[in-house]
């Protein structure tokens, strides 16, 4: 025989996600035909009555009303379950009790599991970083090379390989980047917008992104290149590639290039933009000139750079600092932080 049961919890507040989860748990109890966990507003109580569920005339809008319909035993079981779930201490993690899959232990495993992955973050001791970076590049990924103490000959090898395969290498010793709104490494929470930043200086890049935010604008992408990229040995490879990506990015109207001071006789990077004709742009040295404003230049653009985002990376970033960037649309990122072995 079908029964209707309900229970009122006076002045009990649970967040909406918890209420939905409890409602779903009650509905899944064998023998339950319908269940509802709602705040006891007039509208909701009327809806309960219309749905053939029990109402309580004494309930008030700030009360939580649990109503179930089903066989007698199932109703009792469901109300006990609701009691138990509502009594649980709040959990920020929202544990669901589901077994977690073993995290990937190599870039290859990550890409195999999720072929849409398009960027690897490599953070291993410097002498081993090139091997991991080259593996990632060979898998068609862009690379953020967090590792420092990477020999310059390794850096040149990585970047020449990347350039030949039209992939971007950020780093070595790249500690900050903002890619499609995802902070990578240590980055500040700044709004998204139309200003792209290419930086051979992490501190300079952070300063500029913060200033951009403070002045009411936003950052489309902030791409690190590594502090040695503008040296004669490396030859600006990542800087030019990053500029090219921003040139093609629909969301970028203005580009800022920031670096530590170039060596006196080091030639200025030569970049001509997508149309083949020289485009105006200028650079800013971040260190010696107090209060020198970042130099900006309008640059035409055509398409978005590689899609590099990750809900998990975003979640991690949210835990990191005093403020955060908004969570971007879902996509994929692989983080390879294992030791070589």
């Amino acid at each position: 025989m079908t029964a209707q049961r309900h229970h009122v919890y006076p002045n009990l507040y649970k967040d909406s996600v918890a209420l939905m989860a409890i409602s779903a748990a009650l509905t899944n109890v064998a023998g339950i035909e319908a269940a509802s966990v709602v705040m006891a507003t007039d509208s909701n109580r009327e809806n309960l009555r219309n749905a053939g569920l029990a109402d309580d005339g004494a309930a008030r809008p700030n009360d939580l009303l649990v109503a179930v319909r089903g066989d007698e035993a199932a109703c009792e079981q469901a109300l006990e379950l609701a009691d138990r779930l509502l009594a649980e201490q709040p959990s920020a993690a929202g544990s669901s009790g589901v077994l977690q899959e073993q995290p990937p232990t190599s870039v290859h495993t990550a890409v195999t599991r999720d072929p849409s992955v398009s960027l690897a973050l490599v953070s291993v001791p410097g002498p081993y970083a090139a091997a991991e970076a080259l593996k990632a590049l060979a898998l068609g990924l862009d690379v953020m090379l967090f590792s420092d103490n990477v020999p310059v000959e390794h850096e040149v090898e990585i970047k020449r390989y990347a350039a030949a395969h039209k992939r971007l290498v950020m780093g070595p010793d790249c500690g900050t980047a903002l890619v499609n709104g995802i902070p990578l490494g240590f980055a500040n929470a700044v709004r998204r917008g139309r200003i792209g930043v290419v930086g051979a200086s992490g501190t300079g890049m952070q300063e500029i992104t913060c200033r951009v935010h403070q002045h009411g604008e936003g950052v489309s992408q902030a791409l690190g290149t590594g502090g040695h990229d503008l040296s004669a040995d490396v030859g600006d490879i990542s800087t030019l590639h990053a500029l090219q990506l921003l040139d093609e990015d629909e969301a970028t109207d203005v580009v800022v290039l920031v670096s530590k001071p170039r060596r006196p006789r080091s030639p200025r990077p030569s970049w001509t933009g997508s149309a083949g004709s020289p485009r105006p742009w200028s650079s800013s040295s971040s260190a010696p000139t107090p209060r020198s404003p970042p130099a900006v230049a309008s640059i035409p653009r055509r398409r978005s750079p590689t899609r590099l985002t990750s809900p998990s990376a975003c979640s991690a970033a949210r835990r990191r600092g005093p403020a955060r960037a908004p969570c971007p649309r879902p996509s994929r990122l692989a983080c390879a932080t294992r030791r070589p072995g």
Partner: protein
């Protein structure tokens, strides 16, 4: 009752507060406690102290902690909450909020894009919302969309009059449509309330320079304020704020994005942020925003704005 009794995180620090959080001294009580937030009842406002991950409401304080897990309130419902000399104290927390940055929305902007392109954008966002619901997000009450659209369809009939709230003859038409949504649906802030907050955000920030939109906002806001007692305290708080033109950072950014016409990708990011709020609150508020802006686009605009949108 909700609440936890653990010790406060020693490395917690407030990072910003919203513009409606009073700067001077005040006293209140802890109203409700959640995993990463709590509400303090102060006068007729609820001040939400929350983890810095969350974006601002008009009355929130964002708190950051180092390490994993985010900020968690260590406080019980009914505890005393006091702000003195710039220090907000409640439970085991003492937050130095006197000099933290204050978030405040920018002034509302005039419409920049053409009406046709905005209608296209609104249709795209409606499709994004539908995809979100189809992808497994909890659906709201089935009648919600119907009721929201029915209410929005009445708005172009609201005429600006000599008073702030439009013609008195509009009241019998609008009132049941608004009242039907209040307190309706699942969630701590029932879905219908979330729709109304979104709708009011659209009318208040999307109708600048349009006396018809202003009249519709005043009229809906007045009805919402009168019926707010029929829903939960927390939801009523947000409804009353929205009826006075105060909405949170996410909805402000979203409406402003549509009004000023930002690139599609950035707009989708903002929609994604809104959709991530609560179980269904974000999707419900988005429904209200879309219905409200659809209605605004049907209204005659002021000459200076009309030239831009024609």
């Amino acid at each position: 009752m909700n609440g936890g009794g653990g010790s406060a995180q020693v490395d917690e620090r407030p990072v910003s507060k919203a513009y409606l959080v009073a700067a001077g001294d005040f006293a209140g009580t802890v109203h409700s406690v959640f995993p990463t937030a709590c509400n303090l009842a102060v006068g007729d406002l609820l001040i939400t102290v929350q983890d810095a991950v969350k974006r601002h409401t008009p009355t929130s304080v964002r708190v950051s902690v180092d390490g994993p897990g985010g900020w968690a309130p260590s406080v019980r419902v009914g505890d005393r909450a006091v702000q003195r000399a710039g220090v907000l104290s409640f439970g085991r927390h003492a937050l130095h909020v006197g000099r933290v940055p204050v978030w405040a929305p920018r002034p509302a902007a005039h419409w920049a894009p053409a009406r046709s392109s905005t209608r296209h954008r609104l249709a795209q966002l409606a499709a994004v919302r539908a995809d979100h619901l189809r992808a497994g997000a909890p659906t709201t009450v089935p009648e919600l969309e119907r009721d929201a659209r029915a209410l929005a369809a009445l708005l172009p009939g609201t005429r600006p009059g000599p008073g702030a709230a439009g013609r008195a003859s509009d009241a019998p038409v609008l009132e049941p449509a608004v009242a039907r949504l209040i307190g309706a649906g699942p969630g701590l802030t029932p879905s219908g309330d979330d729709v109304l907050v979104g709708l009011l955000a659209a009318l208040s920030r999307g109708g600048l320079g349009c006396p018809w939109a202003t009249a519709a906002f005043d009229h809906v806001g007045e009805i919402v304020s009168r019926h707010a007692h029929r829903t939960t305290d927390i939801s009523a708080h947000y409804l009353r704020l929205a009826a006075r033109g105060h909405v949170g950072e996410l909805l402000t950014d979203l409406v402003d994005s549509l009004v000023t016409g930002i690139p599609a990708e950035a707009l989708l990011d903002r929609v994604s942020d809104v959709l991530s709020v609560g179980a269904s609150s974000g999707a419900d508020a988005l429904l209200g925003v879309l219905a409200g802006l659809d209605a605004v686009l049907e209204l005659p605009l002021q000459p200076q704005t009309d030239e831009k949108v024609a």
